[in-house]
Symmetry: C2
Subunit: 344 residues, 2 copies
Amino acid sequence: MKILITGGTGFVGSRLARELLARGTLDGRRIEQLVLADQYPAPEAAADVARDPRVQVRVGKLLEQCQAFVADRFDGVFHLASAVSGECEADFELGLRSNLDSTRALLDALRAAGNVPRLVFSSSVAVFGPDAGNPMPPLVRDDTLPTPQTSYGTHKLVCEHLVADYTRKGFIDGRSARLMTVTVRPGRPNGAASSFFSGIIREPLAGQEAILPVEPSVSHPVSSPARTVQGLIAVFEATQQQMGGRSGLNLPALNVKVSEMLDALEAVAGKTTRALVKQQPDPTIERIVAGWSKGATAARAERLGLKPEAQFADIILQYIADHPGAVTESARAAAAAYQRAHSR
Amino acid sequence: MKILITGGTGFVGSRLARELLARGTLDGRRIEQLVLADQYPAPEAAADVARDPRVQVRVGKLLEQCQAFVADRFDGVFHLASAVSGECEADFELGLRSNLDSTRALLDALRAAGNVPRLVFSSSVAVFGPDAGNPMPPLVRDDTLPTPQTSYGTHKLVCEHLVADYTRKGFIDGRSARLMTVTVRPGRPNGAASSFFSGIIREPLAGQEAILPVEPSVSHPVSSPARTVQGLIAVFEATQQQMGGRSGLNLPALNVKVSEMLDALEAVAGKTTRALVKQQPDPTIERIVAGWSKGATAARAERLGLKPEAQFADIILQYIADHPGAVTESARAAAAAYQRAHSR
């Protein structure tokens, strides 16, 4: 089968690609071709993926690539490409173009292809927000009323509904999965207002200072990269009946306070590592984060057999195992000791 | 002030225009100019409106008219133009163009104008529908989770969220009001699957047979044209605080069974009039109607002082008073007798 991943050279995209290549099959069919469409070429960290003979990387804006997808007639699509929340707040038109127009163009291309491809759309927990008439519950559920308070969340929600309608009409077999905040992301901070949720772990592990722009009492639904990729694949492989409706479903979340994240960092990597995190409130980020969910439940995803990580320490250990070169020797040693003490 | 009504020569649009012209003011300011943008010229029934010196009718597709609105710098906009539900199901691209692309073009033009105009978007109770994971409650509320089951409802919901986001960003001062099924509409049946809700009253009153394509036990939230126009104006004149949130609000509904509509028809216009309604099930319409709300509540609209009609007979009397030429003499006489008996 022929698979397309938009945003395919990005962090989640290339990790998903690596997992699909390792499995070799998807939904019981052999993967013959995997196209990674992205505005950027594959970074060094994804060189192994790009080198696989089944992989074709196509570099260019998604909006300009969609027309070609008609002839590709992909069997399956993971639509991950997206401008992130901070970018969309800073540049309204960029957000509309990257997140709304591009998705519309993709859906129209898949419709024109005529082979009813399966599509997983990566929506986001950012569809939820506090509206005056509709305060958010402490934990957002699959069926909590989404009233997004960012352009990013608005476009994600709008695209969920377009995916549902193209599916209802039989043009695609689409499903939307709301990603939780994926952490720990490797590399540099990105434009997402949620970037610090990775930064406060990644930078100290590398021996660098990190700024915590919010109160440690802030709670947030997060997911590891591995569980997120697992969730995307499970949603692809589910039948529409198993999906339990065409509306977007929440992927599993570990609902965690920043203070608990930092406690886990200290437990895994030591006091001196944690001490590299400096609290320095940023009113802009605090305002954005105040509009975010404090946590999420994921009943429909659980029925697909999906679970969040049990504890945040596991997410830190996953990062260290995946990116040993980005972690100081002392932090690696502390983590190894932590693992010996906690596995028997 | 300068007002734009899209769909301005249509039934609700021209009725809204007539009401605004009669009031002379909106939100405390004098109406100097009223532009009616519509793909059709004003029909004979709206000749009085089109003749008013304050009125300018602009005929053409909305998508092609939007660019000119930038220079107009309207103070207020009622965005009513829309392809109806049946049309959107029959022609997917027409629906996307008329209901999604046109609204986007309108919002972008109003944003480009730069004067933060106030906008009322006419959404619809069709945003609600039964999704496998989210069955509809017996009465849909302002905060019921919308999972639309038609392209029409999808586009209305998508546009609600775009209006909310353009408003949040300060580009417009927008608000979305979900119209209930407006009945009794004059004239000919239109492409809406809900068209029969008017037909089963209008045709018998004109001495003609009407087809009832669903069971008489079907219940539905309806509103008279007068209350609908009143609702649109109240929503325009409300402050954002009074609106109680940026998400769409339900306009008041009279929740009525088809059998109750027919009983009211008999009470007002006599047995022979009611006898002109022939039940003839239409599976396509039955399927669509099965996905619609059985009724609605409108808590936020009530806080704006809005109320539905008290009973369906009042809606029939309103139609007869507004369109005496479209009603047989015997039905008019029966209605006059009914009114004498019921007013004291």
